[in-house]
Symmetry: C2
């Protein structure tokens, strides 16, 4: 019984690590597609979503089986329920990557906006938050997880700056409106990637320290 | 042992129903505050978020205890894990309500936009999706849950129409930019309420029919 449980748990760990790796890659590729105006990379992202969706279902299913068959307690139970939550966030992050890729394909139909808006800076900040939240999970590093949570405000600020910059364009630069809407949606997607990374970090802190910190980060 | 489990499960059901009721009320009040330009209601929403956050922690905690102490299987196990997910969505929906209330307070500092943009229609559609998703959960009505999932596209369309309308305003009407940004963010919040309602419906379908439908709704 114990041997089977240990094997199933090892299998679960491998799957969630694989999913983390794939999602990080999807976001990296989506951002590269956007910044380099590369439609091939955008299509690659859109295609890769199926694998993530399959993995999400497999992981959820495995968690349910582990809960039903082995009645885990304490640390193992926390690991399984945290994995279910993190898996959910990862799937949504991948969806946001697909959204960015779809917006990229739309943006490729028109010339780039003349006015400089700092999508690259925001993209880097969100991507780093995702990367570090997954490192915190893999290495059970709650200190890093805390640190990542605090960076969310910075991304919100960058998002607001982009919104302001878009609306301060001349009416001529704002046209076609679809382009500025796409840019705003890309910024919003990046902001939500940062939000989900924060959620992952909150789950890591719960997993490692057994503490519920959400709603309590004050600085 | 069984009696304790039944009592704890009943307690969990009561708590998640209470949370559902509160969240539905928060969203209703936030929308009313927005449409009637009522700061008092907006402050009421912002204040009520603490109660939701407390409930989320209590429910999560209770689910973990039920899993650890009673090793539930089959339907009970599905109910507990679905409740954890729905609780998470409810908490995020409440956050979106708070966001709408905060945007409302900002919008009250400036006169209303002259151009008609159909926030009320979108607000009604999102709110109805939330209401019906919670009805589907309470009544274990997977047919209603399916029906709600299909309405998500309509809300996305309304969101896009609002974005287009905002950008088709004259430069004069777009000023101050903070106002149009707030309106766009309100629309985005409404769209995310519809998204989370869809997630709840997917969990209801899993709970009632044991089927995983996400990623498979085609029309």
């Amino acid at each position: 019984m114990h041997r089977h449980f240990d094997e199933a748990l090892k299998n679960l760990k491998e799957k969630i690590l694989r999913m983390s790796g794939l999602v990080e890659e999807i976001i990296g590729t989506a951002i590269k597609a956007l910044l380099e105006r590369n439609s091939e990379l955008a299509y690659k992202v859109i295609k890769s979503d199926d694998a993530i969706n399959m993995l999400e279902i497999e992981i959820d299913d495995l968690c349910m089986k582990l809960l039903a068959l082995y009645q885990p307690t304490a640390g193992d139970l926390r690991f399984i329920t945290s994995t279910m939550k993190i898996c959910n966030d990862l799937e949504r992050i991948a969806d946001l990557g697909v959204n960015i890729a779809q917006r990229t394909l739309d943006l490729l139909k028109v010339p780039p906006l003349k006015v400089k808006i700092d999508i690259p800076k925001m993209a880097t900040a969100s991507r780093e938050m995702l990367k570090d939240s997954l490192n915190a999970f893999v290495n059970k590093d709650s200190k890093l997880a805390y640190e990542v949570c605090k960076r969310d405000d910075e991304v919100d600020k960058l998002n607001h700056e982009i919104f302001m910059a878009v609306f301060q364009c001349t009416p001529e630069d704002q046209k076609p409106v679809e382009r500025v809407i796409d840019l705003i949606l890309v910024a919003k997607n990046l902001e939500r990637i940062a939000d989900h990374s924060t959620n992952i970090c909150e789950d890591v802190i719960y997993l490692v320290d057994g503490k519920v910190i959400k709603h309590h980060i004050t600085d």
